[in-house]
């Protein structure tokens, strides 16, 4: 059961090679065995998971099996799941048991998938290395001295370490693609609005998007078939007909025009990572694709713009954690203001506080025009860059991250260096475009990710392009030695 794709697991369940309960027990045992070394999960609940598995076995028996019925899925701790502790990686919500299901969770429940547990993450999804979690840092299964990437590091490590066959994740500035890259996985950040944000704890509302993190593009497609779709509870959710992301997954890609942005290959990119990206490009050429050079001239502005907009939204979104209604409240206080201050002082970690401070500053009277408004204008320019690029090509290819997994603690004291981790991923969030990261090779035995960026709603095509690559290469099937 260890090396099976979601499709194979689904078939195994159908052919009664194993039951959902057996499958769930298998992965829960993997968690028991390995979680202490990588810290991928914040919460597991065997009884709950097995009860779900039992129900799934009933569904299968009745012949109503869906692709993901009975399959255990690790859920990022950002998704509210009724009756489950949902902490978002923060002390602030350490005691918070969600009283309702997020739309993503209810969609998995509806098809009879099994919740395997809640995965570790950077606090409120703020971080690029999973070192800001209240529950301790996650370790990269490829080398436990290195980071798994952030903020979906727990989901990435869980799947890379074979503790779960697939996981959900979220991406605000690269939090699916960067950890997928660092952990050798395939991760998709869909078009903004394609997956409902309802019940997903908000970081930066105009950038947050949920997506899958799996071994292969085909698995991601199966996950997307469950996760996507219009949700009336989310006003920014897009109304369009639901797609089947598996239908076109095997389409030939001959004649495909791949745009390579020259700005993605400038200083800061590790030369060995660059070499692996070049190899990926050659592979696509062999498969019949045409390579065109494109330009994203404003990409260098995406990090400064992101660090105005995301903190601005976060400072407002995180105001609700005030100790009044739920979550952490300080033990002793003199008056209301003291209660607010101490609760937030004690409940939030440094990175969250840093961003709240930045966000409060850029929105304040006298600075709004200079920072927030200007950032929104540049954000539009960044979108325009992509629009122009897609007049020349079908898909954009580049690195997912500037380097491979780095040692734990390496960038922790230097936020600006840490922020550079997302230099290739942030612009798609600002533009609301879909982006995918897939493994393209190893450097010093650590995975390197290739990023594919598509136009709006081209998830099907992205998954298809990645899948064709994966049917001709084997990078996505590699497992770190100690987790085999």
């Amino acid at each position: 059961m260890l090396n099976l794709s979601l499709k194979e697991l689904s078939e195994g369940l159908k052919e009664k090679k194993f039951s959902s309960v057996e499958l769930t027990k298998f992965f829960l045992n993997r968690v028991d065995l390995h979680n202490s070394s990588i810290n991928a999960f914040i919460t597991t609940d065997k009884d709950k998971s097995l009860a779900m598995a039992k129900r799934s076995d009933e569904i299968i028996k009745e012949g109503n099996q869906n692709y993901l019925t009975g399959i255990p899925i690790a859920q990022k701790d950002i998704f509210c799941a009724e009756g489950w502790k949902t902490s978002c990686g923060s002390k602030m919500l350490d005691n918070f048991i969600a009283p309702y299901d997020s739309t993503v969770i209810s969609k998995f429940n509806a098809v009879g998938a099994v919740n395997l547990g809640k995965t570790n993450m950077d606090e409120f999804a703020m971080g690029s290395s999973n070192e800001t979690s209240f529950y301790g840092n996650v370790k990269n299964p490829w080398d436990i001295k290195t980071v798994p990437g952030g903020s979906s590091g727990g989901s990435a490590a869980a799947v890379a370490g074979m503790l779960a066959p697939a996981a959900t994740a979220t991406d605000t500035g690269g939090s699916i693609r960067q950890p997928a890259s660092l952990c050798g996985l395939t991760g998709l950040k869909p078009t903004y609005g394609l997956v409902s944000r309802y019940g997903m704890i908000a970081f930066a509302s105009s950038l947050d998007q949920a997506g899958p993190m799996c071994h292969s593009a085909e698995d991601c497609a199966a996950m997307m078939n469950v996760m996507s779709g219009h949700d009336p509870k989310d006003s920014t959710s897009i109304q369009r007909e639901k797609e089947n992301y598996l239908t076109d997954i095997n389409n030939p890609i001959k004649g495909l025009k791949i745009g390579v942005p020259k700005e993605f290959f400038s200083e800061g990119l590790d030369p060995q990572v660059e070499k692996i990206i070049e190899q990926g490009i050659s592979e696509y050429k062999k498969l019949g694709a045409e390579i065109v050079e494109i330009s994203l001239p404003n990409n260098h502005l995406s990090i400064p713009v992101y660090y105005v907009i995301a903190p601005a939204e976060a400072s407002s979104n995180l105001s609700r954690y005030d100790g009044v209604r739920y979550g952490y409240r300080t033990k002793e206080y003199d008056d209301l203001m003291d209660m607010y201050c101490k609760t937030r002082e004690e409940g939030f970690g440094d990175e969250v506080k840093r961003r709240i401070m930045i966000g409060t500053y850029v929105l304040s009277a006298g600075y709004y025009d200079a920072y927030y408004l200007k950032a929104q204008k540049i954000r539009r320019l960044i979108s325009e860059d992509f629009k122009k690029a897609f007049e020349k090509c079908d898909v954009i290819l580049g690195p997912s991250a500037p380097s491979v997994a780095f040692p734990i603690g390496d960038k922790k004291e230097d936020p600006l260096k840490m922020y550079m981790q997302d230099v290739y991923t942030i612009s798609t969030n600002l533009a609301g475009l879909p982006g995918l990261s897939m493994p393209g090779g190893l450097m010093n035995n650590l995975p390197v990710g290739i990023q594919l960026i598509g136009n709006y709603f081209t998830e099907s095509k992205l998954l298809n392009i990645a899948h064709i690559f994966q049917t001709n290469t084997n990078w996505h099937n590699l497992t770190p030695e100690e987790f085999k």
């Binding site: 019940g199 509302s205 006003s235 920014t236 601005a312 407002s316 995180l318 105001s319 304040s364």
Partner: protein, 476 residues
């Protein structure tokens, strides 16, 4: 020194929707604390706002009623501040691009009309409330009101006296009820005014520094508060002092205003467009659709009544003073009664009776169909106007048929001419002196004779008929 008073008003009208502006929670009043607080009202992690279309429709109706521009693309913004009754840490409101743009409202000032410019009206959600004194040393939070839809209506500083401020508030109060977007229940706080007051030397171009009196929820308080505040400001200035911009409260017990907090220390609200809500797009088609279903506005109805039924301006004003009176009147007309008679009966007999009983027309025990029956009996001359008043008293709060009461009280007019002539002849015979007086040129005697005939007929003769017959008789 002569001073000019400058007043602008911001009104919060709670919109009459069944559910809250961004969630499906109920808006019903008087429920136990937090009974109407859903996950969205409580700002649980991960929940999102979904705009209630009905609140938007209410705003459009208001825009149309004050002849304002409806903004095609309006934006919801977050107003950020910390307060225990503000669960999200921000209030969703509109700053730039409010749903209703510039318009105006005509108010009566003495015998004249004055146009008050409406600057804007925007949609926003209400906050909850803190409850003190239940547990010693602790405060409770009731979020039943959190998320109820409000329309904040802002005027230009166009009013120049407490009377005008009250006239505006009353007119606005009537209007929002008329168009059915607000209950206007001021005690429950669903119509409350913040009044901005400043004074300046007569003729000065520049406005004085204003102080904002918060949350006035009765017309009486508006009058008292503005009068007090104006005096306070003038005295202060005449003493050589300066006015500091401030938010103030009115204490109805002492009749005084006092400072809440000065604006200098006020919050920086850090407004920015709410990323959870898309711009609100309102099509012309939607506006037209709402317009076509809208009730005739009070001013339109007033001029129609004057034109169509020859009502006096004064009476037409009375009938269109509020939607319930207008509806009562319309219902009377549906029974084909004479409009002038109907208007008279509402504005005099019905109103005075309602005032005595201290109830509003909506809860009048005498329903329109019953009053219509009575008016029709006047019209067909079955009873006299005076007799009708007696019937009115009998049927006011009792389930009696109009015709039965007329019979019981023997109020039916004598319409048989011969019968009237008989009575008349007897009266002339008995009052020869009066006849002589009349004939010698004293017109007063004529009325006295009519009075005698009415008396002799026990009020059952028709005075018009009596007068006519008498005139004929006396010619001879």
């Amino acid at each position: 020194m002569d001073w000019e008073i400058v007043i602008g008003i911001e009104t919060h009208a709670q919109l009459k929707t069944n559910s809250k502006i961004f969630s499906g929670a109920s808006t019903s009043f008087g429920k136990e604390p937090n009974a109407n607080a859903c996950l969205v009202s409580l700002a649980y992690p991960g929940v999102l706002p979904v705009l209630n279309e009905e609140a938007v429709n209410c705003a459009i109706k208001f825009g149309l009623a004050v002849d304002a521009k409806i903004t095609e693309h309006s934006i919801f913004a977050r107003k950020n501040y910390f307060y225990p009754d503000l669960p999200k840490g921000y209030q969703i409101s509109q700053l730039d691009l409010p749903v209703v743009g510039e318009g105006n409202l005509i108010i009566p000032v003495g015998d004249e009309n004055k146009s008050i410019r409406i600057l804007r009206a925007h949609l926003e959600e209400d906050a909850g409330k803190s409850v003190h004194g239940i547990n010693e040393g602790k405060s409770g939070i009731d979020l039943n009101r959190a998320g109820t839809p409000l329309l904040e209506i802002v005027t230009e500083p166009d009013m120049s006296s407490a009377e005008e401020a009250v006239a505006y508030a009353k007119k606005l109060h009537e209007l929002v009820q008329w168009i059915g977007i607000c209950d206007g229940n001021m005690q429950e706080g669903n119509f409350r005014c913040d009044v901005n007051v400043s004074v300046k030397k007569k003729g000065d171009k520049e406005l004085g520094t204003r102080r904002e009196i918060k949350n006035l929820n009765s017309f009486k308080f508006i009058k008292q508060a503005v009068d007090y505040e104006v005096n306070w400001q003038i005295e202060k200035l005449e003493d050589g002092g300066k006015i500091k911009q401030a938010t103030i409260l009115f204490d109805p017990d002492s009749g005084e205003t006092r400072e809440m907090r000065s604006k200098e220390e006020a919050n920086d609200y850090r407004y920015f467009p709410d990323p959870d809500l898309l711009p609100l797009v309102i099509s012309q088609e939607k506006i037209n659709n709402i317009k076509s279903k809208m009730y005739e506005l009070p001013n339109e109805m007033k001029s129609r009544l004057v034109k169509e039924f020859d009502l006096t301006n004064y009476d037409a004003d009375g009938i269109t003073s509020n939607i319930d009176v207008a509806n009562y009147f319309k219902e009377l007309l549906s029974f084909k009664v004479n409009a002038k008679l109907a208007s008279n009966w509402i504005l005099t007999n019905l109103f005075s009776r309602l005032n005595e009983s201290d109830i509003d027309i909506k809860s009048s025990p005498l329903k329109a169909n019953k009053l219509a029956e009575l008016i029709l009996r006047i019209e067909d001359k079955t009873i006299s106007n005076n007799a009708a008043k007696k019937v009115f008293d009998e049927i006011w709060d009792q389930d009696k048929r109009v015709d039965e009461v007329i019979d019981q009280l023997g109020l039916k007019q004598i319409s048989n001419e011969n019968e009237v002539i008989d009575i008349l002849n007897q009266v002339l015979q008995d009052n020869e002196a009066m006849v002589e007086e009349y004939k010698s040129g004293k017109d007063k005697a004529f009325n006295a004779l009519i009075g005698q005939v009415m008396k002799a007929s026990k009020g059952k003769a028709n005075p018009g008929q009596v007068s006519q017959l008498l005139k004929e008789k006396l010619k001879n």
